[in-house]
């Protein structure tokens, strides 16, 4: 028995390893990155040492200029300068070229006083803002990315304030992501429930056919399905053509149904619908039809019988489907990118931007961390309200 169990465990080991390497480890690394950023601290240790004593007013002492001149030159030789400059640039725009330009000019200079040399190379070095930016990015562990992710910033004096209005973006996007995901979940439930019911209580042959109709789109490439919606919904598209042809709208009054929030919601509802139908279907199949007959024979109207007998039994499927669709919707990014236009963008599109283009993985990690925490809260709420043991995914 013992040996059997060990052998059974051995079979699971590859899966556990796989999950650990491909899922848990990267997740942990991204979360660590969102609070831990040693690049500047490693590259400019002396400078930061001097700056620690500086009061943040006026200009730092000559020692700071001497230290940063030496360390910038070294960073350039080791080709880490770009990373350092990029980090500081995120706090204060313009720092990237200031750093690279200065480091390129420094090797021609042999002696101080370094303050005059650096200000000569670029007068920006005479501004306290530059030094505050260096000091701010020099912390190994920082809440900067999380503050940034909720549209806040730390001012030079250490206090926390909101971002200037034209840079506030993430909170608004998070709220939008939440309500859009909620709306999509609701739509999927409203559309998926009758379908699942129909399939579950059809004779086997018809049920198989119907199930195939749900599964074929599910197996079809996401891009194909999304592009199909573009063909259908665009201004010169199929749906508008039909509406014009039957005279419901004029040729110049064509509806805008894509490249906005409508497009995002329609396409995502379609893409995510199978994730609602399948759990519902499997739960409904297990409900004997006799129960409804029994309710009817005891005098219940069809609505009463549905509300008090059928619906409560499908709750595990409703919960599973809703949770699945909602969580997937929160992280969806390709569909809104293609059909969302400017008003249909979600938070995941910003995460993708920071991962791929700005390379600000710390901020991407913080945004992801906040969404992950949100999903956990949802999970706990679900557990409290419905009970996680009633969740049925198959």
């Amino acid at each position: 028995m013992q040996r059997e169990r060990v052998r059974a465990m051995l079979l699971v080991v590859p899966l556990l390893l796989f999950i650990g390497v491909t899922f848990l480890a990267p997740l942990g690394m991204m979360l660590l990155r969102s609070v831990h950023d040693p690049v500047v601290a490693d590259a400019l240790p002396e400078t930061l040492g001097v700056l620690a004593e500086w009061d943040g007013e006026g200009l730092p002492p000559e020692a700071a200029y001497a230290a940063i001149a030496r360390e910038l030159t070294l960073a350039r030789e080791e080709r880490t300068l770009g990373q350092v400059a990029g980090r500081v640039n995120r706090v204060e725009s313009g720092m990237r070229s200031l750093f690279t330009r200065t480091a390129r000019g420094l090797p021609d200079v042999t002696a101080g006083p370094w303050r005059d040399v650096m200000v000569e190379l670029d007068e920006a070095w005479a501004q306290p803002a530059v030094w505050n930016a260096v000091r701010a990015t020099g912390q190994r562990f920082t809440a900067r990315h999380y503050l940034n992710a909720v549209d806040m910033q730390r001012l030079p004096d250490g206090s926390v304030a909101r971002q200037p209005e034209e840079r506030r973006i993430y909170l608004a996007l998070m709220w939008r992501t939440l309500w859009v995901s909620g709306a999509i979940t609701l739509l999927c439930l409203m559309l998926g429930y009758p379908i699942a019911h129909l399939i579950a209580h059809s004779p086997p042959r018809r049920a198989n056919l119907l199930l195939l109709l749900v599964l074929v789109p599910f197996w079809t490439s996401l891009l194909v399905r999304t592009t199909a919606w573009i063909v259908l919904l665009q201004t010169q598209g199929v749906l508008n053509d039909i509406l014009v042809a039957i005279g419901l709208i004029g040729d110049d009054g064509r509806l805008t149904m894509i490249y906005n929030m409508t497009g995002t919601i329609v396409a995502m509802t379609h893409v995510l619908l199978p994730f609602m139908v399948l759990p519902l279907y499997s739960v409904m199949r297990a409900i004997p039809p006799r129960y409804m007959d029994a309710a009817a024979s005891l005098g219940a109207t069809p609505i009463q019988a549905f509300r008090r007998v059928y619906w409560p039994q499908t709750l595990p499927g409703v919960g599973a489907g809703s949770l699945l669709v909602f969580i997937l919707a929160i992280g969806y990014y390709i569909t809104p990118a293609l059909v969302g236009g400017s008003s249909g963008q979600l938070i995941s599109n910003m995460v993708a931007y920071h991962m791929q283009t700005s390379l600000n993985w710390g901020l991407a990690g913080a945004l992801g961390g906040i969404m992950l925490a949100g999903v956990f809260v949802l999970y706990v709420l679900y557990d409290r309200l419905v009970g996680i043991e009633r969740l049925s995914l198959s």
């Binding site: 973006i169 990118a337 236009g341 400017s342 791929q356």
Partner: protein, 388 residues
């Protein structure tokens, strides 16, 4: 126990596989054989990676095809080095991931210039000495043959490409748009516009349309008032804009009549004009000229082959071979005269090239340095502006 089995059966019924994998006989003896097969397959894959095959990464689509036919195939024919082609959509993320982990499977990458500079600063790309590149056909050393500013420390200039705006002449009757200001003029040219969903290019176009002289655009953008001015100008057409993301979208939207005009990469419009006979017209006024770069991923085990490839790709003949397949201009002075006609259709290339006289007269050079500094901040501002 029974319940679990039931649910397993139900599960497999879903996928219609009951009975096919339901019985476990045979697997016990098959497993070692399968494992052996896998090991052999993996070993084969590793051999492939360590061998001479070079992986080059480009932008796919019509440009990727042009590079493949114009450079990759002749390169393999000349050197015998096989090439795996991969596509990507720009950015340094994948390169950084490979260099960080030390498992490099991309060798040569076609980069935007800002990424080539940033990647170089961050140590993600190999330094390339320009004097090691082959001289021009008439013996001019590479340093003098390349157009000035088309080289960076780690990147060799590949092509000049341009962001322009284009319209579908079937959808605009009467007067046709001719200047950048017309793109922003909803009174004279009503209808939807397509623009790329990034702050780059759009802010420049807005200022040009607002009457800022070409040589002052970046100076004006560098001031807070200038930025506000650009955003205000964009605001005037915001409600009519459809934002695109992939280079293939603008020609599609123009053909569908989804937009009356759209900003686009000039090569994509050219392809639609020539290969698909679309009645598109490019407006060259205020075009934003940018230079593409080829770089080598730092630490690649196939450095020698990669350098060979870069040298081959930088030849005037190679650049011209690309230019004869898609309308992107060579970065070598000696390359321009070699770009004669389109390989497939025989169309004269010169009128379609962004750097041809006439087209280039009202061109603005993309200031990647300014954007490297301001991108982070402006992207946040642009996204916030879009969402409002």
């Amino acid at each position: 126990m029974t319940r679990r089995r039931e649910s397993a059966a139900r599960h497999s019924a879903w996928l219609g596989v009951t009975g096919r994998f339901g019985r476990y006989t045979g697997i016990r003896s098959g497993l070692p054989r399968l494992a052996a097969l896998l090991v052999v397959a993996c070993a084969g894959a590793f051999d492939e990676a360590k061998g001479q095959a070079l992986t080059t990464v480009s932008w796919g689509g019509s440009y990727g095809r042009a590079v493949n036919e114009g450079i990759n195939i002749p390169f393999t024919a000349e050197t015998g080095i096989r090439i795996n082609v991969e596509d990507y959509n720009g950015g340094l993320a994948q390169i950084r991931a490979q260099v960080d982990v030390g498992n490099i499977h991309w060798d040569v990458v076609d980069l935007e210039i800002a990424d080539a500079v940033r990647g170089c600063d961050e140590g993600l790309l190999e330094l390339i000495d320009i004097s090691s590149l082959p001289p021009g056909p008439d013996g001019t050393p590479a340093e003098d043959d390349f157009v000035q500013d088309s080289q960076t420390e780690c990147g060799v200039g590949a092509v000049y490409w341009s962001t322009v705006y284009a319209y579908n002449s079937e959808n605009i009757s009467g007067e046709k748009p001719a200047t950048m200001a017309d793109f922003f003029d909803l009174d004279r040219f009503p209808g939807r516009r397509g623009m790329r969903r990034v702050p780059q290019v759009n802010l420049e176009f807005a200022l040009i349309a607002d009457g800022v002289p070409l040589d002052e655009v970046y100076a004006v953008l560098d001031t807070p008032e200038g930025l506000n001015r650009a955003f205000r100008k964009l605001e005037t057409i915001k409600d009519e804009v459809i934002w695109w993301e992939a280079g293939a979208q603008p020609p599609q939207m123009l053909a569908d009549g989804e937009v009356v005009m759209s900003t686009a990469y000039n090569g994509r419009i050219f392809n639609a004009q020539v290969l698909e006979n679309q009645p598109f017209v490019i407006v060259w006024d205020g075009q934003l000229l940018d230079v593409g770069q080829i770089g080598i991923v730092a630490g690649t085990p196939r450095l020698e082959a990669a350098l060979q490839y870069v040298a081959f790709a930088s030849r005037a003949e190679s650049q011209a071979a690309v230019g004869r397949r898609i309308s992107y201009s060579p970065t070598r002075q000696s390359g321009a005269p070699l770009v004669t006609t389109h390989v497939e259709t025989g169309v004269e290339m010169a009128p379609h090239m962004p750097a041809s006289p006439g087209n280039v007269d009202r061109a603005l050079r993309y200031d990647w340095q300014w954007w490297v500094d301001n991108q982070d901040e402006l992207n946040e501002r642009f996204s916030a502006w879009l969402a409002r």
